[in-house]
Symmetry: D2
Subunit: 329 residues, 4 copies
């Protein structure tokens, strides 16, 4: 989640001081071998910077060249396509928006697998369908490379501060090597099991998160209608069996907590669109595995309706606002 971690503004400024980073990275450059990085968007860019900062030379590519500009100034080498990255490095991290982008970056005409070297370690931090992760792993294996899925929890702020949580799936014997790199970009690196289980863990977490959030919004709304003060109700829930992350760390009711999207007109945070995408992945995997998810499915439907009613880019806690108005008014 974007807002899982509260970010000190000072710390953030410090991290972004280019000079410092450049200096730090040049110091270490001599002793470490280059790492490939594909996908330099809002998340990928700060992640790659943190690798630079830890002294890893970076060879990077993105479909839109201007994304690499800032990284280049910091010393990274920008190349034309994933295949070229694969040609120059033997550890590659990909951070892309969705399954088709991942498929293209790996198996497309200019994809990694066109030039991948035997023994290369491929780490995909995108959030995608675990079955696609498995396909990529199988394709990589044919070329003698190892593919691992490692989606993240935590947003742009956490990416900048190297406070992400990585959930890693793939062969356990490669986990140490994976941890060495991901540890530069995150606070937690968790081993989840065979390839695809990193995605599975993330999808599961976000489904339960969505259910907890809508449940909290319904409950807070009901309590307020029944005459309870919202702050007091949150307090009671949080010391009782109703507590959850959405009630005690990310309360959706304006005025209950500070520093969360509900305190800022549901700006920032994790958008309803992205949550809807995650719930779609949950739905897909539930269908593949024939698993009933009644609440997960209804949560998905509600966020889909919200996307059609003007909430697409608001934080997903805005479901409180969506439910708020009184009937017959």
């Amino acid at each position: 989640m974007a807002a899982l971690f509260r970010v000190s503004r000072n710390l953030l400024q410090m991290c972004n001081k280019h000079a410092d980073i450049a200096m730090a990275s040049s110091r270490a450059m001599a002793s470490k071998t280059a790492v490939g990085f594909i996908g330099l968007g809002n998340m990928g860019s700060p992640m790659a910077k943190n690798l630079l900062k830890h002294g890893y030379p970076i060879v990077a590519a993105d479909t839109s060249p201007e994304c690499g500009k800032e990284l280049q100034d910091l010393g990274a080498q920008i190349v034309d396509c994933p295949a070229e990255v694969a040609d120059k490095t033997d550890r590659i991290i990909t951070m892309l928006p969705s399954s088709p982008n991942v498929v293209d970056a790996y198996t497309g005409p200019h994809g990694i697998l066109k030039k991948v070297k035997k023994g290369t370690l491929l780490i995909d931090s995108s959030t995608i369908d675990p079955s696609v992760s498995k396909e990529m792993a199988a394709a990589a294996e044919k070329m003698g490379a190892v593919f691992m899925d490692a989606p993240v929890s935590g947003g742009v702020g956490a990416a900048s501060l190297a406070k992400l949580t990585f959930m890693v799936g793939g062969p356990e014997e490669e986990f140490t090597a994976v941890k060495e790199l991901l540890g530069c970009m995150g606070a937690n690196v968790l081993y989840c099991g065979p390839v695809g289980t990193g995605q599975a863990a993330k999808i599961c977490n976000n489904m339960l998160l969505a259910i907890g959030m809508i449940g909290t919004a319904e409950t807070m709304n009901l309590g307020i209608r029944l005459g309870l003060d919202p702050k007091l109700l949150a307090q009671i829930l949080n010391m009782s069996s109703g507590r959850c992350w959405s009630s005690d760390a990310y309360n959706p009711v304006p005025g209950v907590m500070e520093g969360v999207p509900s305190a800022n007109n549901y700006q920032g945070g994790y958008s309803t669109t992205l949550m809807t995408k995650d719930l779609g992945l949950a739905q897909d995997t539930a269908m593949d595995t024939k698993t009933p998810i009644p609440l997960g499915s209804l949560a998905h439907e509600m966020y889909r309706v919200m996307c059609t009613r003007g909430y697409a880019s608001k934080d997903f806690s805005s479901v409180f606002q969506f439910l708020r108005e009184k009937e017959g008014q």
Copy 2:
């Protein structure tokens, strides 16, 4: 919740040592005025004992006389009906199964209000519809008495150990007097607002609890199907934004935690029937206040279906078992 609190067997035995309690209560009896207690079932009986233990003389009544036997042995006076309790005391606690029992105990032909004295403090710890609480408060006010609702969180074990949480609604100026008594029977006494808000807080908590529990069961089941180890998945959720009381304190998957109903074939704990009753109260109050509760409502439906499929007396975490089997098998 019954299992909110893990109960040390030794402590429990100690509490139940009749001699000790009798002694303790006789010591204090001289200095404290009698308290009335109506409803001596599984919950009411240990609650009344704790009052005795704190030195309050007890005048009690129950519709089935044998319920008072044990309390009588400990020194309580058992009388015939609520009206008689009201005749002999000016602070009365009621602990009854549902709305009609409460209405009868207060306004019935042998009810409290037939003989209530001006200024009497009436505390109802039953879990009922807040609108009934308001009616009782209005009826009490006409007789010059004060009615407060104070439902509990925590089950029989917590009642025995005086570890209940009370959520109190009613005039704030009476809260100190209420706390003096309820503090003998519980670990937390929370002031929630005007009469009915105690019920409201309890209903809200339990609705969110039910949603969180079903959500956790769906999520754990999905994760297991996707190849995740259940213990590991619980660990990941509990350090991420998916965490909730049902995932970290009362996990519904056998083998993940000890000392919870899922570790004991869903025996003990809080029954599906009781949770269904609470969700019915949530549904009722949501209809009265015109509040949409999509997930709460679906949770209610699921627990109602479970009641028809043999889960009525199992702990409400057995929803995991209900969802567990694989399609097409």
Copy 3:
């Protein structure tokens, strides 16, 4: 349903011609005994007129006196309260908005039962909770009167044209007498069983109607998104197993049918508010009888959400509009 029946404008004008009605009613007045009518709102007023038209002298009452004006001009006697109606007649019809109004009209201080004569036939055409119907029946029985519930299907247009459908509950031996009167105001008078079953039948019908309507709206929307022409899709559904009243007689998609609310910007018809009220009754009776209604319950929630989003007074088929917009736009 309001729009169950298409109303010819000419016919309607004819029916409303006061002179004709007054003449017709005066002709028959000599030979028929007076009928009481309580509740002269949008529905009750045209219903009473149809009784007048059939030659029944009318003694009527309404809480707001101006409602009786038009009826008085047509020859009805307007009195002050239900008790007075009961004093002057031995067959009384009530048509009131909701349970509390019915309770008041029967058992209130100026209610029917204050002056009801032995053997009086009481027919309640309001839509209310069947358990309230049963209470009224029991109270009437104590006074030697007979109470029957007879809610209607069909709106103001059908009421004017005497095309209502009545669903009648109560002692079967009274059904002939009931039918004599209701037959003047409706096209169908159906006997459903003991008291309360009239309400039950209406509630059941409307719950299934709501489910069918939302289902049709979802289906039509999905089909359109998949590239189907809405008219063609409706045609296919209507000759297949997907057909229902909402698809073939009241299609919610603008442009598919004429003469329905969807062709008129969802004006007229049966309001979302009223449907929400009916679904609330379904929810109440489902809880009383411990009956799971997952789709009925979700339909209720959806209409409740719609009430909060500006659809309260639109026809209930506007759920198509509610679901229509595309995600992410």
Copy 4:
């Protein structure tokens, strides 16, 4: 739907009289060019027979050779693989269980497209994801062939009796040619629009059917609990706005209708498993097109739960039985 059409046993026997069919087909064989048929299962086999009966020589293939035995006895030529069928015919019908089978039959190593001739007409009657239909159409177009989707409504009985309904998607100018063939196997051949819209129409119909069925089951159950006679309730619904195919042609309550699965312990008909598959396709296409389907989605979840509770092979109207039992018993 399997049971859409009631099948006279005599008629069925007549149709199956091999001698007649063989005779009829040999008579016409001289004048008609051969038709290819791939997939000779429960549905495909009687469909192919009906083509034979109309005088079309048949060249057929199936992955399991014994499936073709009976057809061979009737004069059909059985070949090894789809490619060979394509080599010998220029009109081919495919009738396969699911998307992967279709993909393999068209684009696999021995698939149709390996040997398809320019101008060949390919008609797929399988029920699959419309996006797969579009992919097949695109692949066929590259080879100069035309692909149309034509899924059926109606089960094995309807297939035997040539009473199927076909919903056809693809270029309109080919519809006449399609109708010539499909008309031999069905009572209705409907043109739905561009390729994929046949599937879309079928998916839409079945989603609304599932919603109507569960809604009918809930409603009938509620009415029965409220004291209504089930036959009478069905009658009332069927003359009111609650009516739908599931209430008036396929009522799920035993004893209400004859000749439907509910009268036969939910044997025969359309299985819960198949309905769950169709709802999965609805879910998939809803996700692809970002269409909210709250009731459709909950219907899907309910059928998924039923699949895990022993209802997988029962008719989908057994949802009545699933909901039937009373809470707390």
